[in-house]
């Protein structure tokens, strides 16, 4: 062997080593580094799941990579999720699931055009395999949704982000009868002053979703533009007397639903399920393990609730203690605190907790607790107020409900007079809604007796014929 040949052999061997390393890098890609992720910011249950999925992906196949991508995505690590999604497809045929998820991830990364390209590829993939019946779990719908229309909705929404309303509308049309897509079309029609089309489509949508208050809102807006005062008022009334939220950001809804498959989200969903199955003991065990690893307000709340259900008020009280120091406590937390304190015999502290709950926001349940525990006159006042709050709550979510007239209170305090006015206003509104003009007039008068500046009562009274 000449000297030149020796040099060439050495270079060749070095090159081959490099090629082997480069190929190895692709065959055995390293999962996007957990090192870049702040460990302290994650609950250990989530961290463990990410690490486990990462290890599996490094040694496993495309499905493992895909699962890792989904875990990253629901935890908000979109860049890592995208890398995992793409690594999982290296040298493998693209699956619908992988393409769809890449679309979702690109959508969240703000790359609307690229997201739409990926969604179109996913659609093509589904069609080519005649698997148009792909379904996706959507939390808000509490059901499975056929992927095709939903993807056209995603595409339309991205067109809106890109300020292409015409392209968006065409995409929403392709989503067919999907309610959220029809809702977007109504909005686009009102914006571009195609009012008669908007009225027709929103009426169709309301036939299928009569309790959707957002649709009533746009129907009212369309009626206002059309100059139809009666229809506008009718639908404005229904905005306040219906209770169904139409979720519009489906990408977010899907990510929120999928979060229940991984880490802390999975653990909490399981604990919630155990509570629904009336197995509080099992839920408590699970939640105790989680909170010992790392305290989180969401775990503490559920643990307190589970302990109350299991009739363990002392443990419930303990679970709430740190929440009192570090969490944001709302009226329902104070209500629960009072319940726990009463159960361990601390009646004065329980009353104080319920009064704090009322100071934050009065609700019927808290008044009811105080009514149950107080003396005659105070109990009666709380009972009247509890009834009014309960009636108002039912009035707002159920239009078939006829609200009862508020009970009487002698010499009401200003706050109590205010609640009485609210009660009479609901009664008046219901009478007006049902066309009982005289009764409505009387109820508005009583409302204004307790609150002379009640603006809506003053306005609505003028609407009466």
């Amino acid at each position: 062997m000449t000297r030149l040949q020796g040099v060439l052999v050495a270079v060749l061997l070095t090159e081959l080593a490099g090629v082997t390393w480069l190929i190895g890098r692709e065959v055995q890609p390293v999962p996007p580094a957990l090192a870049g992720i702040d460990r302290e910011s994650l609950h250990p249950a989530t961290w463990r799941e990410m690490a486990r999925l990462g290890e599996r992906a490094a040694e496993g196949g495309p499905e493992d990579w895909q699962k890792l991508a989904e875990c990253y995505a629901v935890a908000g690590f979109f860049r890592e999720a995208l890398a995992s999604c793409r690594l999982g497809r290296l040298g493998e045929p693209a699956t619908f699931r992988s393409l769809y998820w890449e679309g979702l991830i690109l959508d969240r990364l703000g790359r609307s055009r690229a997201a739409n390209q990926m969604f179109l590829r996913a659609l093509k993939q589904a069609d080519s395999r005649k698997q148009a019946e792909y379904t996706i779990a959507v939390n808000a719908f509490e059901s499975l949704v056929v992927a095709g229309p939903l993807i056209w909705h995603h595409i339309g929404r991205n067109q809106q982000r890109l300020e292409n309303p015409e392209a968006a509308e065409r995409s929403f049309e392709k989503a067919g009868k999907l309610n959220v897509a029809r809702y977007e079309r109504v909005r686009l029609m009102v914006r571009s002053q195609r009012i008669s089309q908007a009225i027709k489509l929103s009426d169709e949508l309301l036939k299928d979703e009569p309790e959707s208050y957002q649709t009533h809102q746009w129907r009212a807006r369309a009626a206002t533009v059309a100059g139809d005062v009666q229809a506008s008022r009718r639908h404005e009334d229904l905005v306040e007397r219906t209770d169904k939220l139409l979720p519009t950001d489906m990408v977010v809804e899907i990510l929120l639903a999928e979060a229940k498959r991984f880490g802390l989200g999975f653990e909490l969903a399981q604990a919630q399920r155990l509570l629904e199955q009336r197995r509080p003991g099992a839920a408590i065990d699970r939640l105790n393990r989680l909170i010992e690893e790392a305290w989180r307000p969401g775990i503490a709340r559920l643990l307190a609730q589970a302990n109350l259900i299991a009739d363990r008020p002392r443990e419930a009280s303990r679970a709430l203690q740190r929440l009192h120091r570090e969490g944001s406590l709302g009226p329902l937390d104070w209500l629960m605190t009072g319940d726990a304190l009463l159960a361990v015999g601390q009646q004065d502290e329980a009353i104080a907790a319920w009064q704090t709950s009322l100071a934050l926001r009065p609700i019927g349940e808290t008044h009811r607790r105080l009514a149950d525990i107080s003396g005659d006159d105070v109990a009666r006042r709380h009972s009247v107020l509890a009834d009014i709050y309960d009636e108002i709550a039912t009035f707002r979510r159920d239009r078939s409900h006829v609200p009862r007239e508020p009970g009487r209170l002698d010499n009401p305090e200003p706050d109590e007079a205010h609640v009485l006015a609210m009660g009479w206003f609901c009664v008046a509104e219901d009478h007006r809604f049902r066309g009982n003009t005289d009764k409505a007039r009387q109820a508005y008068a009583l409302c204004l007796e307790f609150d002379p500046g009640h603006g809506r009562a003053l306005q609505r009274r003028k609407w009466l014929p």
Binding site: E15, G36, Q160, Q217, S328, P331, R361, H418, G453, G455
Partner: protein, 440 residues
């Protein structure tokens, strides 16, 4: 004498060819795109993901620490009229209103002014009852998370000289995000404008002061997601008008021209001043000020709110829009700055200050606070240059400017709303004192 070329043997030729071929394969393997976290932008870096370093010319002081704080509003104001500015802050995490006084270098006293305020979103100092002292009007969300329930309130804390007496102005409403004050009907007392944010249902109200500690409610607009309602004379005719930013479902800015006559809602003529089809813009506020120094009031619209989903990411359209007042209720809209997750804006003698709630906090050098100044030499589309001031704390939701240390120059205060991880660069309330040399 010239040497004859040496003969190269066949094995040498084969080896040479092999070296070349393998080198080409190696080159191809090296240059072909391999997915990795670093390469996901496909060569198009995200301009909204602003990264940088803390500016040492701004001295940072932590007023109130807190890992999971929910500070929703900060204001610099001399509340007790002692010639020194204090900081008023809404603490939605602890349902209270705070007052912070600077005692000296990095020393602060933080006191609770009022408690049991359910998720306060905004505090407005105003003499509401005309008795020559400063009362406080507090807008209460009732829930920081998306909630379409009737959970909001508007509370008046009447200054009694010894403390504050609490009155409920509104409670049969959805989440209240803002209230602004002014004599809207010219009768000498102070009326209010209220942004009922709600969630998918909301409205803009004006509350007519009847003089008996009572207010009559008039509806100006029914639209969900109104965050701020600045009150000022936008058309220069001597009376107070209203503007409002709507940010849920629709992304739009409305103007309500005070006609100087008429009752209730008829006193105002409403106009939509601007809108976008981009539902995801994330409008996060509206600030009035003469930005272009032409004598009328313009509007700043910070955009980057994606609160409906905790895990958000800087979007290319995040930043701050400038709505330049051209007169006659016409506004020209231009981009003032691109800055991921921009959540609030304020103006001071240093320029326009922007804070970010949703930059990419997984990046340790992601910027949380910038100052924007006009750059005459910059490209025409982005005439304002955002200059990083801070990278910590993260998740800044509210900002104000004013002289905190009494040196005659404006400083900056910001509050953090730590609703999502990471929690490793946390503080509840932070100030940055201007230590820049003159001319810098």
């Amino acid at each position: 004498m010239i040497d004859a070329p040496r003969r190269i043997s066949n094995p040498t030729t084969a080896l040479s060819l092999a070296v070349i071929v393998v080198a080409l394969v190696m080159w191809w393997l090296l240059v072909r795109p391999v997915p990795s976290v670093a390469s996901i932008d496909d060569g198009r870096p995200n301009k909204a993901l602003l990264r940088g370093r803390a500016d040492p010319a701004w001295q940072r002081e932590i007023v109130l620490p807190g890992q999971w704080s929910w500070i929703t509003n900060v204001r610099i104001i001399d509340l007790d009229d002692d010639g020194h500015n204090e900081i008023l802050a809404c603490d939605a995490g602890a349902n209270r209103l705070l007052l912070a006084r600077r005692l000296g270098e990095d020393r602060w006293d933080v006191a609770t002014l009022a408690e049991n305020l359910l998720t306060p979103a905004h505090v407005t100092p105003v003499d509401l009852d005309g008795d020559d002292d400063r009362d406080l009007v507090i807008s209460l969300l009732g829930n920081i998370r998306p909630d379409d329930g009737v959970v909001g309130q508007l509370v008046w804390l009447e200054n009694t000289g010894k403390g504050y007496r609490r009155h409920r102005i509104l409670d049969d409403v959805r989440r209240v995000a803002d209230a602004q004050a002014g004599d809207l009907d010219g009768d000498g007392d102070v009326d209010l404008v209220v942004a009922v944010f709600g969630y998918a249902r909301g409205k803009v109200l004006w509350l007519e002061n009847t003089g008996n500690e009572d207010f009559i409610e008039h509806t100006l607009l029914k639209a969900p997601g109104t965050i701020h309602v600045p009150v000022a004379d936008f058309d220069g005719d001597g009376d107070l008008d209203i503007t409002a930013v709507v940010t849920q479902d629709e992304e739009e800015v409305w103007g309500f021209e005070n006609l100087g006559k008429g009752d209730g809602p008829e006193r105002f003529r409403s106009r939509r001043l601007w809108f976008t089809h981009n539902y995801d813009l994330g409008g996060a506020g509206l600030v009035a000020g003469d930005i272009d120094h032409d004598g009328d009031l313009d509007l700043l619209l910070p955009a980057g709110d994606n609160f409906e989903y905790g895990h958000t990411y800087p979007q290319p359209y995040h930043g701050c829009l400038l709505l330049r007042n051209d007169g006659g209720w016409k506004f020209t809209v231009e981009t003032l700055a691109v800055f991921g997750g921009t959540y609030a804006a304020a103006m001071g003698d240093m320029g326009v200050v922007l804070v970010s709630m949703f930059n990419d906090w997984t990046q340790r050098d992601a910027v949380s606070l910038v100052v924007c100044n006009r750059d005459a030499t910059g490209p025409a589309r982005f005439p304002w240059t955002p200059r990083p001031i801070a990278i910590s704390p993260t998740h800044l939701a509210t900002v104000d400017c004013g002289d905190i240390d009494g040196d005659g120059r404006d400083d900056i205060v910001a509050g953090s709303l730590h609703v999502a991880p990471p929690f490793d660069r946390s503080a509840a309330i932070t100030v940055w004192l201007n230590r820049e040399r003159a001319g810098q």
